[in-house]
């Protein structure tokens, strides 16, 4: 089985599960953890599918854009998404519990919700190019491209997305990911073993102690695979 989707034009961390790992994937999905992307953008044009390979819709000037202006827009995006985060989390805002969770930053929707950006910041800025780091929930890569397009509009110009790269999916980061050259049995086994603890800890923390009984089975699977 596979983790959250990564569309054709995007790249990055993509989680796969074998055997019992599929059940863990479902559990991880229920944890509603954030994913982190680096998104590249280019000012000056707008296309129909928001990416740089789409059909050109309009070209605009961009020399009035500064890093400060971009960061102002990013602050607004973060603010409105923070509100959405609290509102979709289905917590009664009038309780002390809601206050405690809001202070710790632990409120997040544990069910279906529209895409929400939990954090966004500018990593690089060199007109006309820029690069953002986006932390999000329940997103699609196309949604991220649309965000780039909307940032362009807010800055009274236009922008297209040149790159979407997932650098973190829940507990899995780029460091855990296997390169093409490492797609062999030994590496895969090692990777499963290295991530085991992280996955177990996260699931327990968020969903409770339901999964403990299932993990010994996973060890058996691995032993099988080793043979």
């Amino acid at each position: 089985g596979a983790g959250p989707r990564l569309d054709v034009k995007a790249s990055g961390v993509f989680v796969l599960g074998i055997g019992h790992g599929n059940k863990l994937l479902t559990d991880l999905y229920d944890c509603h953890l954030t994913k982190v992307y680096t998104v590249g953008g280019l000012f000056g044009k707008a296309t129909d599918d928001f990416s740089d390979t789409g059909k050109l819709v309009e070209k605009t000037t961009f020399d009035h854009i500064t890093r400060e202006k971009l960061e102002r827009i990013l602050a607004v995006i973060q603010g409105t998404n923070h509100k959405a985060l609290l509102m979709h989390s289905n917590i009664d805002m009038k309780t002390q519990e809601a206050y405690e969770l809001a202070v710790k930053g632990l409120i997040r929707p544990m069910g279906k919700s529209p895409p929400i950006i939990t954090a966004i910041r500018c990593l690089q800025f060199a007109l006309p190019e820029f690069q953002l780091e986006i932390h999000c929930l329940h997103e699609t890569q196309q949604y991220l491209r649309k965000i780039v397009h909307e940032i362009g509009l807010e800055l009274k110009s236009s922008a297209v997305c040149t790159q979407v790269r997932r650098i973190r999916d829940g507990v899995f980061t780029l460091d855990d990911a296997l390169l093409r050259t490492q797609w062999n049995l030994q590496s895969i086994q090692n990777a499963i073993r290295d991530c085991q603890l992280k996955v177990k800890t996260e699931i327990e923390k968020t969903l409770g102690h339901q999964e403990r009984s299932c993990l010994p089975k996973m060890d058996a699977e691995m032993a099988h695979a080793a043979e």
């Binding site: 973060q78 954090a119 910041r121």
Partner: protein, 442 residues
């Protein structure tokens, strides 16, 4: 005889099929470039209002008297609504059902007022239908003519509004006061049986130890802070809010002593019957009503009529604001502390405290990801609080009386919550049931 049809030409027709990369690039290069904003594009100054509409305090006549037949009057504006103003507004103040806006321009018209005018807190607003009468309610920002000696030189620096009176601070013609004077809050002798409605009287105050740099209206009293760091007061004193050592009314601005004697006060605040002052060394002083534990840290009495130093150990204080039952301070480090009674901002469980409690900075957007966020200013309405961050975001909490929080919901808010405003919020004025903010567009 018919002409033979012209030979079908293929010369101008293009071949079908997806365009090559080169064709795409050429088409792109040939496309026109649009300019929506030039390098010199300036950010515009805007005013946003929200809260209770029927008093006219929001300044949008169509909320009270719809201009089109099918529209219904709007009782509450729950989210920020843009108010078109002629001039750049530099100071705004919300009173009890009315609003003052001022610009520091040298043009003749410097102050506008809207809302309740039954005590002429907005000056005399001549009725169009009957020129001998004045309006009791003003539905849109209307100029308030001031009796200035040099109207084309003097600038209005700041305005403040109380329950039924207003103060207007100028740079070199002192302070102008208007509205109800039953308790001497306008700084002039109380006239028995004076009729305040439809009054043309605007009083001027100039006798202070130095230039007045801040004016503050409490519910029925007035505070004046001078350049030399002194504080003067006049008006209702039953709760000791005038800080003059008695509980009587005062009709002439008189200097306060007590713990602030000789202290350089850099900021004063009041809105209900309690008052706070901040010194240049970061100390905070309080006087007035203490029924809600506002001054319980130094005394058990419920009224304090002399300024007392509040010995809080929370760091140097930069700014203080007083509401009806709750108080809030901002320290030099950017931390926000609240105390008093009511919805203080730490969840429904904290209803009252005599000692300041800090509101966690994470509620204002601070996190490992955004470690530079700080609260820059704090404001108080009668039963709500507002905080402005250095990123231009506005957070509100407290009782959501008639939608005055601007969150879009009608529920009270027990911890700081962002108000979505299209722009960077530069300042905000809080009233009883409405708020006004000054915003810079992006």
């Amino acid at each position: 005889a018919g002409r033979p049809p012209p030979a079908l030409r293929r010369g101008l027709a293009k071949a079908a099929g997806p365009r090559s990369v080169r064709q795409l690039r050429e088409a792109e290069e040939a496309a026109p470039v649009f300019q929506y904003a030039g390098k010199a594009a300036k950010r515009k100054d805007r005013v946003f209002v929200w809260g209770f509409c029927y008093s006219g305090a929001l300044g949008v006549p169509s909320f009270v008297k719809p201009d089109v037949g099918w529209k219904k009057p709007r009782r509450i504006q729950p989210t920020p609504y843009r108010l078109e103003t002629e001039e750049k507004i530099s100071s705004a103040a919300c009173g009890y059902g009315f609003t003052l806006l001022s610009s520091n321009t040298t043009d003749i018209t410097k102050v506008w007022g809207m809302g309740l005018n039954k005590d002429s807190q907005l000056g005399f607003q001549r009725s169009i239908r009957d020129r001998t009468k004045g309006y009791e309610y003003v539905l849109e920002p209307s100029p308030i003519p001031l009796p200035l000696e040099k109207p084309q030189q003097t600038r209005v620096l700041q305005v403040s509004c109380g329950r039924a009176h207003s103060l207007i601070l100028t740079d070199n013609e002192g302070v102008f006061t208007m509205g109800n004077n039953s308790y001497g809050q306008c700084g002039r002798t109380v006239v028995e049986d004076e009729t305040y409605s439809e009054s043309h009287l605007i009083h001027q105050l100039k006798e202070f130890d130095s230039r007045v740099v801040q004016v503050v209206c409490g519910q029925d009293h007035s505070l004046f802070r001078t350049k030399k760091g002194a504080v003067y007061a006049c008006g209702w004193g039953a709760d000791g809010q005038t800080g003059l050592g008695h509980y009587n009314i005062t009709s002439v601005p008189t200097k306060l002593h007590g713990d602030i004697a000789g202290v350089n006060i850099i900021q004063v605040s009041s809105y209900g019957d309690c008052c706070l002052a901040v010194s240049d060394e970061g100390d905070v002083f309080g006087w007035g009503n203490s029924e809600y534990l506002q001054l319980a840290s130094v005394t058990e009495t419920t009224q304090v009529n002399v300024p007392r130093h509040l010995p809080f150990k929370i760091g140097k204080i930069k700014e203080a604001a007083c509401g009806g039952t709750g108080n809030i301070v901002l320290t030099e480090e950017g931390n926000v502390f609240v105390w008093g009674y009511g919805i203080l901002g730490k969840g429904p469980n904290l209803i009252e405290t005599a000692m300041p409690e800090m509101i966690p900075p994470s509620l204002f957007g601070w996190s490992d990801f955004n470690p530079d966020i700080r609260v820059a200013h704090i404001r108080c309405g009668l039963s709500q609080f507002a905080a402005l961050t250095n990123r231009g975001e506005l957070f509100v909490w407290g009782k959501n009386l008639r939608g005055c929080l601007g969150t879009g919901r009608m529920e009270d808010q027990y911890f700081p919550w962002r108000v979505t405003v299209p722009g960077e919020v530069v300042d905000v004025a809080c009233g009883v049931d409405h708020m006004v903010s000054m915003v810079k567009s992006f």
